[in-house]
Amino acid sequence: MENLEDLKLMAEQWTNQGLEYLQKIPPFQLYAAIGLLLLTTVLLLSFRLVRRTKSNTVLLSGLSGSGKTVLFYQLRDGSSHQGSVTSMEPNEGTFVFHFEHAKKGKIKPVHLVDVPGHSRLRPKLEEFLPQAAAIVFVVDALEFLPNCRAASEYLYDILTNANVVKKKIPVLLCCNKTDKLTAHTKEFIKKQMEKEIEKLRASRSAVSTADIANDYTIGIEGEVFSFSHCCNRVTVAEASGLIGETVQVQDFIREYIKP
């Protein structure tokens, strides 16, 4: 008990001394010091806020077997190593593209996430969507027609997701495996996807107003759907994961994540 009282007395003495000291300083200096402190904190906070909105995450999504994992390793290492199997977990990495290693100077690395395409692992995509700055939707140009419906449903779900619509996240429709002879062209794929999404739009909007499945609807009422109707930018490109033809994908990513 005595210790406590002693401590209290000492604390009181210190506070008195501090107050006396403060009162000695001319008021102008005091105000200047406080003003400077406030200004710096405000500036720091504003910088942090501005920096937070510019994330550098890019998502690689698409159906299972479309070539996302191969593309991921091509962008990172320049080779697809010994091949890949169906992914069970996402592949993440923050790196500068392999082809950009030659460039000098400090280039901002890209946080690339390869989300598994298997339908049972679909919830993983929703974990990553809030932090995405751009989405690359990979489509198998070789086996396109059998998977057209599933691919368009997946793309529809992405385009109507709340995060994507609100933040206007740009989407690249990447047609993979174009090194093969019988692969379809990107124009064909784009048209087919637009047609399928149009059908989906018709069947899903026929459901009542409380639509649990999709957050928003896309496209303009009364007109056939086209990718230009989306509020976020949707572009189409070609690539080949196996031979390393990924220039268009890299350009797209660098458009939104400045080096």
């Binding site: 390793y73 890949s84 169906t86 069970m88 069947s203 649990i212």
Partner: protein, 616 residues
């Protein structure tokens, strides 16, 4: 002979394949393994068969690696498990997340394989010497295995002699010894098998009765009948005759109680039933309450003693988070979890398999700091449950209906299930929902057995104002369905809902009739109606239905159960385990949930709510 051994990451990148045996594999066994076994939470199983191959696997959960060995199904190689664990150990020593190529591992692997094969041969030799006089059945089996093995070994030996360099004298000696031993033992086994065939027959009959249990009442009856004198035949009920050919015209008259002139006169034109929006379209609001508090108490009550002893060390470990999870650590937590699942009405078999799968995925993993073992196990189980209940393919029926409409044919849905689960009621609910979305529906009354089934559907049809196709009772349901579909094509209905009679999964003639209906009409959706009150029988029902449908299917595609309709969901409070059992055993998604007895009581399955209820 090993076909291939692969090491890959959980993210999908192949790190190493065995280059010695560069055989290209037929089909894509690895992808199929991942899709139909590992992602379906069956990783606790021993092996997986694909075509002519058998696959075995093991995980290294800490580094996120998967090791898979592929070999021919007919060879029963013993050393695979051993080899996989040795490979796992040695590879994890040289593994580096930055490295992508591991060519130096080839040499290590070759040595390991030679070691494992030698060890397996030794074990086989010791087994043969030690056990000459075991139970007859066991020996019978062992001899069969050994003949297969010796054949396999002979192939191995030839291969080895050609591929391994000649400097390896020790190996050749062992091989020679192995050959001699197996030749001797073959002779021994042949003699012993010859003597004990009669014993084998007796044991076999005993075995059947022992294993029969509840379901093989037939075999028990037949055994009893053979040993005792047959009791005098009582006057039994005349069995219902199912085939059209044998139906006597007199029986038809007696049983067909449909009132020719009656119905239309009695009932006035009923106003179209409009009970508002079907619950399929309404958003579900569920409360999110904190669940972590409840878990701690039951677990702590069960094992107070063990906790006191290891309390300080476990707390220390949970803070530092360095401990590698071992099987012994996981067992108590998994056991508690399994019991909790079983109290929620999950079938026992399914709960067991799930726990094994979670165990396989957590073993060897490092605990994250500040987490307890029980919370890690809970998290893993939750993820596994969400993965199982998430549908494998899209369950968007409206889209399918529109697709069928474009092809100018009706979309046919067949409702199957055991007796009394609610097929007719839920058929009406689905019809109501479809009608609300401006789809023209037609009902087909193919339940020609139960009295009143046709009238029941007729009443529903009148209330919903949709056409119904009926042919009365005692007709072949397959033919009725075919005519109904033709009628629908003629008058342009979008959807045909076919109601069938309830049948037990063991009833052979009824299951045959069902597969005839499905083969003849090739429906777009085979919907299995199951009630949420069912317990362990769900596993049996679904597996037998699927098996019978695949066995009795004619040429072309085999139609299995495409979807599940879960009924009587409002009667169970939180014992929602039947949904999990059904989805796990059949792989079909739950498309609808019936939660009441009026037309609007039809919902979609809310995966997150079910998982939360199961783990509460």
């Amino acid at each position: 002979m090993l076909e291939q051994l692969l090491i890959f990451t959980r993210g999908g990148l192949i790190l190493w394949t065995c280059k010695e045996i560069g055989n290209a594999l037929k089909g894509s066994p690895i992808d199929t393994l991942i899709r139909s076994c590992l992602l379906e939470e069956r990783s606790g199983e021993v092996s997986f068969n694909y075509g002519a191959y058998t696959l075995k696997w093991t995980f290294h959960n800490d580094l996120g690696l998967v090791f898979v060995a592929v070999y021919q199904k007919i060879l029963q190689l013993l050393y695979v498990d051993d080899l996989l664990s040795m490979v796992k150990q040695s590879f994890s020593e040289i593994y580096d997340p930055k490295r992508m190529r591991y060519d130096d591992f080839d040499e290590t692997f070759r040595q390991l394989r030679v070691e494992a094969e030698a060890r397996a041969e030794e074990m086989k030799r010791t087994k043969q010497v030690v056990k000459p006089l075991n139970g007859v059945k066991k020996q019978g089996q062992v001899s069969k295995e050994e003949t297969k093995k010796s054949n396999g070994e002979k192939k191995d030996d030839e291969g080895k002699v050609s591929s391994v360099s000649n400097g390896n004298h020790k190996m050749e000696d062992d091989v020679a010894n192995g050959k001699e031993n197996s030749a001797d033992n073959n002779n021994n086994n042949n003699n012993s098998v010859g003597v004990d065939v009669s014993k084998l027959a007796k044991l076999r009959s005993k075995g059947v009765r022992g294993r029969g249990g509840l379901r093989k009442a037939d075999s028990i009856g037949s055994n009893k009948g053979s040993s005792k004198v047959e009791p005098p035949k009582k006057a039994t009920k005349k069995n219902r005759v199912w085939d059209d050919a044998a139906a006597a015209p007199k029986q038809e008259e007696k049983l067909d109680f449909t009132d020719e002139h009656g119905d239309n006169g009695h009932v006035d034109v009923v106003a179209a039933a409009d009970q508002g929006e079907s619950m399929m379209d309404k958003e579900e609001v569920f409360s999110s309450d904190s669940e972590s508090e409840d878990d701690d108490e039951p677990i702590s009550d069960e094992k107070p003693e063990a906790k006191k002893k290891g309390w300080f060390s476990s707390v220390f470990q949970s803070i530092t988070g360095k401990a590698n999870l071992e099987r012994t650590d996981l067992e108590p937590a998994l056991k508690a979890l399994k019991e909790r699942l079983m109290t929620k009405n999950v079938a026992e078999e399914i709960a067991e398999k799930l726990c094994e799968s979670v165990e396989a995925s957590l073993e060897g993993k490092k605990l994250a700091s500040f987490t307890r073992i029980s919370s890690t196990v809970q998290g893993a189980m939750e993820e596994a449950l969400i993965r199982i209940l998430t549908p494998r393919r899209s369950i968007d029926i409206m889209r399918d209906v529109h697709a069928a409409k474009e092809q100018r044919r009706p979309y046919v849905v067949v409702f199957v299930g055991v007796n009394g689960v609610g097929k007719s009621t839920n058929l009406a609910k689905v019809a109501y929902w479809l009608q609300q979305h401006k789809v023209s529906v037609m009902m087909a009354a193919c339940d020609t057995f139960r009295s009143g089934a046709v009238e029941q559907l007729r009443t529903h049809a009148r209330r919903l104002q949709i056409p119904i196709f009926e042919k009365g009772y005692e007709k072949d349901p397959a033919v009725v369905a075919k005519e109904a579909i033709q009628e629908a094509t003629r008058n342009g209905s979008d959807v045909v809902l076919v109601d069938t009679a309830g049948r037990m999964q063991d009833n052979e003639p009824l299951m045959r009739a069902l597969s005839k209906l499905i083969n003849l009409n090739k429906p777009d959706l085979v919907l299995f109606v199951g009630e949420a009150l069912v317990g362990n029988d769900a596993v049996d029902q679904l597996s037998k239905f699927n098996q019978k449908l695949s066995d009795l299917s004619t040429s072309g595609s085999t139609r299995l159960i495409d979807g599940i309709l879960l009924t009587k969901f409002d009667t169970i409070d939180d014992k929602v385990g039947a949904a999990l059992s059904m989805v796990y055993i059949s792989g079909a998604p739950v498309m609808f949930v019936g939660c009441g007895q009026s037309y609007t009581d039809l919902k979609k399955l809310n995966v997150k709510a079910i998982v939360k209820t199961l783990l509460k």
